[in-house]
Symmetry: C2
Subunit: 251 residues, 2 copies
DNA sequence: GTACATTGCGTCAGAATAACACATTAATGA
DNA sequence: TCATTAATGTGTTATTCTGACGCAATGTAC
């Protein structure tokens, strides 16, 4: 895989990569899709290189799709990272030898890489983490338990979540993170988990329904302890409209 | 200049550039600093390449500083642009010949460039547009009268303004765009110009003073028609604090 | 049945917002 | 000189939004 790219490195944008922060929601936890590649002792964000004949957005979709199998989901560029030494230590001499990378090819690989960060919101239940190769592990890891990551991936992850938190105030969230039918308490848990703070049930209900993107279904969730909560779904059209126009006007 | 870079192109990040949207405010108009280089018939955003030994943020500061002479101002990355054909037509055969660029060097220049967009807010009165060379023109142009730009620079400019409009709701603005002493009507005009809509004087005053970043001075603006407006200045400490913590909490 | 946790719905005071009225100030020109 | 004009400074009021909370309804566990 890496060798294929290096052998055809003229087909890829040099010194430029894409890293995706893929968020999912399950068991009332915010999850992040991380990968661990052969020989590495740290986890990393799924990433990839940019073919010279692809828009960067298209390359990001490729990265997302290759790891999750889904497409047509919420994917948004949020920042570009380019500190001088950010990948200085990534491919050390031993690693290059291990992968039998020739010196000339290694130069292409070890230069400073600037990486474009994208974050994605996906429906956890629809994703089957998809290792790119035999020696790659792909896993959902709870955000609060994300271990040490390679390079500046922790910084990238933090920035992605910061961006998501800010954008929560500008757009509706949930369509891409929840199954088709869901309950208000579930949606609230999603918000609480992302924001990492408690919200008042009753005020949340009022605010979220006032947006006008929810359809109350004639069903209740079954097999639950305590009172069965109502099921809701998103009104796709209105959701898209609000997504486009934004929530708060401010000034 | 360009030749210097090409002759030492191994010192620059390949296929990667920086473009700055530099906003200023003067005569109740939102101005953008644009440049026109030798032989070009269209204007462009000030931009530059990225030395391999500089953080991308540092490279952006260099671009801004080289064109405006100021530093320590508001400068923020907002998006990265990388459509496949974005600079296909930029250096055509004739132009390359005109600049006497060798074929090998031309390859470095004509590949797809991904560009990182930054926007800056600067005090118009402190800026002396600074052409990088004899054949370069640097000028403040009113936003509404910006002519056709090269490449996708119009898209970059639009995105910068969109970002600024959104961020108006998240942070205070004005410190970097106005002189030290200013009036509330001036500040309001700034907001109105950026948002491109009228605001109510009285409501604006209330909202802006409630933020707690303004200091009312014991001075009135002199030499003005009609009633002399009060002068204000920003309380730097409180301004910085609000900048860091944000304005609207939302959820 | 009773205790308990959770959901659904409602209330209320205070804050924020939008729309608007009126007095004040300084240059202008009849 | 003095009314006119076009701005600025300072309210007021009705409405909406927000945060904090009460209480009844529902379904499980014992």
């Amino acid at each position: 895989m890496l060798k294929d790219i290096l052998d055809n490195n003229e087909n890829y944008q040099p010194g430029l990569s894409i890293d995706c922060v893929i968020f999912g929601f399950h068991d009332n936890q915010l999850k992040v899709l991380l990968i661990k590649v052969e020989r590495a002792n740290k986890w990393s964000l799924p990433g990839g290189f940019i073919p010279v004949d692809q828009d960067i957005d298209a390359a990001a979709i490729t990265v997302l799709n290759s790891r999750t199998g889904v497409d047509g989901v919420f994917l948004r560029q949020f920042a570009t990272f380019g500190k001088v030494n950010r990948n200085d230590q990534h491919f050390d001499k031993k690693t290059l030898e291990y992968f039998q990378i020739e010196e000339e090819k290694a130069k292409w690989l070890t230069r400073r890489f600037v990486t474009i960060g994208y974050y994605a919101l996906v429906d956890f239940s629809k994703i089957h983490p998809n290792p790119a190769g035999r020696f790659e592990v792909v896993e959902w890891i709870e955000h609060k338990e994300v271990p040490e990551l390679i390079l500046d991936h922790r910084e990238i992850l933090d920035k992605a979540l910061d961006t998501l938190r800010i954008e929560l105030n500008l757009m509706p969230i949930g369509y891409n993170l929840l199954p088709e039918k869901f309950t208000i308490p579930e949606l609230q848990k999603l918000y609480e988990t992302i924001l990492d703070k408690k919200l008042d049930r009753r005020n949340f209900l009022r605010k979220i329904t006032n947006i006008g993107i929810l359809t109350k279904l004639d069903e209740k969730k079954s097999n639950v302890a305590h009172k069965a909560p109502n099921l809701y779904s998103f009104d796709k059209d209105k959701y898209e409209e609000v997504l486009k126009n934004g929530l708060n006007q401010g000034w």
